[in-house]
């Protein structure tokens, strides 16, 4: 294109740029950690969806004759103190954990992204006041806040989703705001401002496309925390109501019998840990592949 460096000026790339989705897929594929992580999560989702096909046992039906059995041909992971099949409960347990976590994370991220972007773009007093309020919310321990909300409104899944949103939105806002702040001074945003574009148009056209990677990583990361938090809540008896099959609840129920039927505690622990490891690996891999620097974005 110039008179001087004609040969090397045009980089060897496909002429038509691939679609954003294809591009994302390629980055995911390029990172082994992300591939493994997403695969683990996908397996968990599949198991949760297909649970009724994978086991013939009812996860909530008590059977006193079969209580506290060790692993056997009929009950691969044994039974718990009420005689329920542990494997069935673990398979079904993913439904609650994944369902509530995904819903909670989505809601949290949606609110957090919109508010975070707005704070970064608007700045000024809005940003200041928001920062103060978020800091105040953050200063209350998340477990306590969750407990209070759940006590006040009951333990339904929608309440848990709301409670998680209250606890985690401030953190997501911080991260997204940090990411957006890095984009806001860029000249292409300035150019859009000089054209006189509206705040919403700038947000949608210029800023959001440039922070999707941060938001995706945040989703994986946040989802892993949400899974942990929800299971902790269930463990404490404030999450899923018995006899709902839930991993945290299962550990709480079977912990006392851990010497008798260790599998009843270990199986849900393994399920929980693999899901979270999968999410963490995905978050790690994605952030490395996309070069998302979590230091700069705070927390």
């Amino acid at each position: 294109m110039t008179t001087l460096d004609t040969p090397a000026a045009v980089p060897a790339v496909p002429v038509a740029p691939a679609s954003a989705a294809a591009r994302a897929w390629r980055t995911v594929r390029s990172s082994r950690a992300a591939t493994i992580g997403l695969a683990i999560v996908a397996v968990h989702v599949l198991i949760a969806l297909l649970a009724p096909l994978l086991t013939s046992y009812d996860p909530i039906a008590n059977n006193a004759d079969q209580a506290l059995l060790g692993p056997s041909w009929e009950h691969w992971a044994g039974t718990d103190q009420y005689g329920r099949d542990v494997l069935a409960r673990v398979l079904y347990g993913g439904r609650y954990a994944i369902g509530v976590s995904v819903a909670a994370t989505l809601v949290t991220l949606l609110i957090g992204t919109v508010v975070g972007c707005a704070a970064a773009l608007r700045g000024g007093w809005f940003d200041d006041v928001l920062g103060r309020v978020l800091d105040a919310v953050l200063s209350v321990p998340s477990v306590l806040a969750l407990l209070v909300i759940v006590t006040a409104l009951g333990t339904g899944p929608s309440v848990i989703v709301l409670a998680i949103a209250v606890v985690y939105v401030p953190q997501v806002v911080r991260v997204v705001r940090g990411a957006a702040l890095a984009v806001v001074p860029a000249d292409y945003v300035t150019a859009a401002r000089a054209r006189g574009e509206s705040t919403w148009a700038i947000l949608r056209r210029e800023i959001l496309p440039n922070i999707t990677d941060v938001v995706c990583v945040e989703f994986a990361m946040r989802a892993s925390w949400v899974v942990l938090l929800i299971s902790s809540l269930s463990f404490l008896g404030f999450g899923a109501d018995p006899p709902t099959p839930d991993w945290g609840l299962m550990v709480a129920e079977n912990r006392t019998a851990i010497t008798v039927v260790p599998m009843a505690s270990l199986a849900p622990i393994i399920a929980l840990a693999t899901l979270v490891v999968g999410l963490n690996l995905a978050a790690d891999g994605l952030s490395k592949a996309w070069g998302v620097d979590r230091i700069r974005e705070g927390s």
């Binding site: 860029a186 000249d187 292409y188 300035t190 150019a191 000089a194 054209r195 210029e206």
Partner: protein
């Protein structure tokens, strides 16, 4: 006399993308010798591998790079075969490095004095600071790096390098990012120290002017290969390789009376400046403009007019307020005083394709209002091109989209299909292949991106174009092309062009009139030829004297001294070339 530095057939490769990536050669079979006391320059554009070669003298490679062939010997020792302890002794003791950006090269959490003392040697820190001509050395030694100006930081880095009295000094773009006058001071210092201490030096630079002034021998690199190596006098007087010739020809000169057009073989043809007819209407008029940043006054009572088809250059060092003024005209800063008006008037004939002239287009517009409060027709007619093309295009959107958006937004085109056609037209107007429209910015070169930036500005069919240091981040050859494009466009479209630059030589060939700014005040103004042939203000003379031209044996360096205030308010977008 045996060479103190001897690089033989050195090849370096960089492994891309982790363990599965392939080797990308960055340096290919480069050889050079440096004799004691001699200065050897490595010249090339970005990506030529010049910095990589220089760093190997200290046995340093970037993370992921490795030597794939050849050797580097310094003071008789094979650098890459030395055991760790010996290598440490070599660094600092025999070879020392002055890095490109002293602001980043000094540890922010350590006092200056400690950092210099750490470098070893028996010379007291205060003496070293005195040697690099820093005032009040005892007090300075107790300061932290961020408390110094850019020029002072670079002097500290030099003091650190000469602390252990090395035999070879490696200077990696030692003055890039400094203002011309500061640059001149630092170069003088390096020259003086070199003679005083009998140092050999390896100077890495993209700036042929700097090289001409400093080096005894020059090696020209391109894509990791040696293109030409010769004594400085011979190289500049009679360059052999066509690449070297083109490179040299691309450098703008202070005595060019028009824009230099460079041919394929490096021949130079000066195109006479466009004649602006006396009755060309005034497009933008600024009167007593004052702009404040908090309590600091960035621009103080500046007035000027720009007529259609005319290029007005705003020249000054960083902190002179030139970019602030440009941003205010674009509606991104609100002036605190004075008036700025857009004269309105008819658009030039032959450029009324849209046929969509609203009555508002003919009225004069108030440019003192921020962009959001200007009427659409006014926003459209005053357009800004940014300094850094890397950040002025949205990396996630195709460049065609970047051009189409203002077309649609300003209503210059009616339908989507029409926008696609017009965008392709605009892209070819800036001398690019319309097929590039589907690319992402990262898939274009720096020069191509800057052209897209210009095309985006043209999409609004402006009659005023503000070019804010648009060639600063580009290599010289690319700069020459972009300047030519700008000159063509203003002729074709009768653009009133406000050209902002810190580089007097760049301004010389393009601008019709020059306004010299210092600390927000106009110190000199006039037709380009008049200002350059007889600069009236001492500051203008100082600026001109500080310009280094790529001619061998040009006059001795004038003592410029440091003129930047201690609180160096260099804004990020005025920082120099890569």
């Amino acid at each position: 006399m045996t060479a103190i530095v001897s690089v033989t057939e050195l090849s370096v490769a960089y492994r891309s993308g982790g363990s599965g990536g392939r080797d990308v050669p960055v340096v290919r079979e480069v050889s050079l010798d440096v004799l004691p006391g001699q200065t050897h320059a490595l010249v090339g554009e970005s990506g030529s591998g010049k910095s990589t070669v220089a760093a190997t003298l200290l046995g340093h490679l970037r993370h992921g790079s490795r030597v794939t062939g050849g050797s580097v010997r310094v003071g008789g020792a094979d650098v890459f075969a030395l055991p760790a302890r010996e290598l440490r002794r070599l660094r600092g003791g025999t070879v020392a490095m002055v890095a490109q950006n002293a602001g980043h090269a000094l540890t922010p959490s350590m006092r200056i004095g400690r950092q210099i003392a750490e470098a070893g040697g028996d010379v007291p820190v205060v003496d070293l600071l005195e040697q690099v001509r820093l005032p009040r050395p005892a007090e300075l030694a107790r300061r932290y790096p961020h408390e110094l100006s850019g020029g002072q930081q670079q002097r500290v880095a030099i003091a650190m390098a000469i602390a252990a009295r090395p035999k070879v000094l490696v200077l990696d773009e030692p003055t890039t990012g400094l203002d011309v006058i500061t640059q001149r001071g630092v170069l003088d210092l390096i020259g003086a120290l070199r003679d005083e201490l009998g140092l050999a030096a390896v100077l890495v630079s993209h700036d042929l002017g700097v090289v001409a002034h400093m080096a005894d021998e020059v090696t020209v690199l391109r894509s990791g290969r040696v293109v030409e190596a010769a004594a400085t006098g011979r190289l500049f007087a009679a360059p052999q390789d066509p690449y070297t010739r083109r490179l040299l020809a691309s450098v703008p000169r202070l005595d060019d009376e028009g824009l230099a057009l460079v041919g394929a073989a490096g021949e130079r043809e000066v195109r006479p400046r466009a004649v602006v007819s006396g009755d060309a209407p005034v497009a933008v008029s600024a009167r007593d403009v004052t702009i404040d940043y908090g309590s600091a006054r960035a621009v103080d009572g500046v007035s000027f007019d720009v007529r259609r088809g005319e290029v007005l250059a705003l020249v000054g060092e960083s902190g002179s307020g030139k970019s602030t003024l440009a941003w205010a005209l674009a509606g991104l800063r609100t002036p605190s005083g004075g008036t700025m008006t857009h004269a309105g008037g008819d658009r030039p004939s032959g450029d009324t394709k849209s046929g969509d002239l609203r009555s508002g287009d003919r009225e004069s517009g108030d440019l003192a209002r921020p962009a959001g409060k200007r009427p659409l027709s006014l926003r459209r007619r005053v357009q800004l091109v940014f300094q850094n093309a890397d950040t002025s295009l949205n990396p996630r959107r195709s460049v065609g989209d970047a051009v189409r958006r203002p077309l649609r937004f300003f209503g210059t085109v009616g339908s989507r299909a029409e926008a696609v056609d017009r965008a392709r037209q605009l892209i070819s107007d800036v001398r690019l292949e319309p097929a590039l429209a589907e690319r992402l910015p990262a898939q274009l070169s720096g020069g191509q991106r800057q052209r897209i930036g210009i095309a985006r500005a043209l999409a609004g069919e402006p009659d005023v174009l503000i070019a804010d240091e648009i060639t600063t981040a580009l290599d010289v050859s690319v700069q020459a092309d972009v300047l030519r494009l700008l000159d063509d466009l203003r002729r074709e479209r009768e653009l009133a062009c406000l050209f902002i630059s810190h580089d007097l030589a760049v301004v010389r060939g393009l601008a019709d009139r020059v306004v010299v700014l210092r600390h927000g005040v106009v110190v000199e103004e006039g037709p380009t030829d008049a200002v350059f042939s007889a600069p009236g203000h001492p500051y203008t003379r100082q600026l001109m004297a500080a310009v280094l031209e790529p001619l061998p044996g040009v006059g001795p360096v004038v003592d410029g001294g440091e003129n930047t205030p201690p609180t160096n308010r260099r804004k990020p977008y005025t920082q120099g070339a890569p």
